[in-house]
């Protein structure tokens, strides 16, 4: 949990900047448009009716919206780099947003109370989005990070599993969370993680091998952002719900006959989302 908070804090200036710029752009367009309108109304006296947009203006705006959409698609296709791309896209879509609500939805010409009502809801929604993403977002820094490394070292000491498995997990790339490698129990203890490399709904490793008739201590290490559990329904084995950042364990009496069983997270929907793996008994 601490790691995630730290990573989120590391990213928060960028997120804040992007959200801020996006909403500022939308707000500025409306504000500017209102100001210009007031100036024109003052200079034209009471002839505010003339200020009403004409079909020509509507068509011109449609042209602008089309051009902005083309620019958006072009910058995505030529790939200008994620750090520039995201702010550019958000600003461009905020401009489109501003044109539609300002002109097509007449906020520019209508009573200010309508704008207040709508923008109030809009900013509330932006706040809710920022909170949700801040609370549940799983941010991986683009290059490898000190934060991630230090956390996996902590886990080493916590669980005392100094197997090659942990080394493999610790070194796996930041965007490769779908490792297919299997692990076998050599020391009578085995760790299975979830939330590895920012992938919430998956177990790593997805396949484990155990020897028939042995007794194996299974450690479930939840590195994700929400609670998960670990169960082998056919063997009646379960490690109960484990909160984010916690680990739990249980001793599995492996049957004497070889076979393959599914292990899952039994929280509704999690198996379907990808939290399923196989335990192979040799």
């Amino acid at each position: 949990m601490e790691t995630q908070l730290a990573t989120f804090l590391a990213y928060s200036p960028l997120i804040g900047m992007v959200i801020g710029m996006g909403s500022a752009a939308a707000f500025l367009i409306l504000y500017k448009a209102n100001q210009m309108r007031q100036l024109r109304v003052e200079s034209a006296g009471s002839e505010a009716e003339d200020d009403h947009p004409t079909p020509t203006l509507y068509a011109q705006i449609a042209g602008i919206l089309l051009i902005i959409t083309i620019i958006e698609v072009v910058v995505v296709i030529i790939d200008i780099g994620t750090l520039i791309l995201i702010p550019v896209l958000l600003i461009l879509s905020a401009i489109k947003f501003g044109f539609v609500i300002g002109y097509y939805m007449h906020l520019k010409f209508d009573h200010k109370l309508f704008s207040t009502m709508f923008l109030g809801g809009l900013f509330l929604a932006i706040g809710v989005m920022a909170a949700l993403i801040g609370l549940f977002g799983n941010f991986t820094l683009p290059s490898d990070t000190v934060l991630a490394e230090s956390s996996s070292h902590e886990k080493h000491h916590l669980t005392h599993v100094d197997s090659p498995l942990m080394t493999v997990l610790g070194l796996s790339g930041s965007d490769d969370g779908h490792s297919e490698e299997s692990a076998s129990a050599s020391s009578g203890s085995m760790t299975i993680t979830s939330g590895e490399s920012g992938v919430e709904f998956a177990f790593a490793p997805a396949t484990v091998e155990v020897a028939a008739g042995e007794s194996v201590q299974l450690i479930f290490d939840n590195k994700g952002t929400i609670a998960h559990d670990f169960a082998i329904p056919e063997l009646g084995f379960a490690i109960e719900s484990t909160d984010a950042g916690q680990s739990g364990s249980g001793t599995l009496a492996v049957p004497a006959t070889p076979g393959t069983y599914d292990f899952i997270c039994s929280i509704p929907g999690h198996k379907e989302a990808g939290m399923v793996g196989q335990i192979v008994i040799n």
């Binding site: 449609a62 995505v76 809009l122 919430e200 709904f201 989302a273 939290m275």
Partner: protein, 195 residues
């Protein structure tokens, strides 16, 4: 039916129905905001594919986004015609708007079919779940909008949409433009921004 143009005296001096529509749209912002953030948080969390990068076709979606933008133009042109008392053009642009909305829906249906064929369903993975719930919820808004547009067209044909009650068409227009701006945001966040 009372004369729509008069309206009731209100404390704000503004039309209550229009205020209601704006407050409704503001509340809908929160609905879409939650669905969009859920999608953003969950889309790269799937344990199994297909992943967003595998199936999105940006050029195809750009065309649908463009169709919906243009329907906003035809919508304002329809309202503008009604406010001038030009009923013929009101109907033409209304039909055009409903038609463009229907094209968008057809495009979305086709896109969903392609995604399902490539193995992404509502229950394949968490990306599929959040993607279909978000875009399906938006598609439902579009479908309701098309029905409202067609009923406006019907009302106009039956002579029940006089110039004096252009507020009715204006309210439908507000809803329709809102559906369009939501798509502007979804198009950018879901399709254009890489996960």
């Amino acid at each position: 039916m009372h004369d729509e143009n008069v309206g009731h005296a209100t404390t704000t001096g503004l039309d209550n129905r229009k205020m209601l529509m704006w407050v409704f749209l503001a509340s809908d912002c929160l609905f879409f905001g939650s669905l969009i953030s859920t999608y953003m948080v969950m889309r790269s969390q799937s344990g199994v594919g297909p992943f967003p990068g595998d199936i999105f076709d940006i050029l195809y979606t750009s065309v649908s986004a463009f169709v919906l933008l243009m329907s906003s133009l035809t919508m304002v042109l329809s309202l503008s015609a009604l406010q001038r008392g030009d009923h013929k053009n009101t109907r033409i642009w209304l039909l055009a708007t409903a038609f463009l909305g229907a094209i968008f829906l057809g495009g979305q249906y086709y896109e969903f079919t392609v995604f399902v064929a490539e193995g992404l369903t509502l229950s394949t993975n968490i990306f599929g779940t959040t993607f279909f719930v978000l875009t399906g919820f938006h598609g439902t808004h579009v479908a309701i909008g098309v029905m409202m547009l067609l009923s406006m067209y019907g009302a106009s044909v039956l002579g029940k949409l006089p110039q004096s009650s252009s507020i009715n068409l204006e309210l439908v227009g507000l809803y329709w433009h809102f559906v369009d701006i939501v798509w502007i945001v979804i198009f950018t966040i879901v399709y254009l921004i890489p996960s």
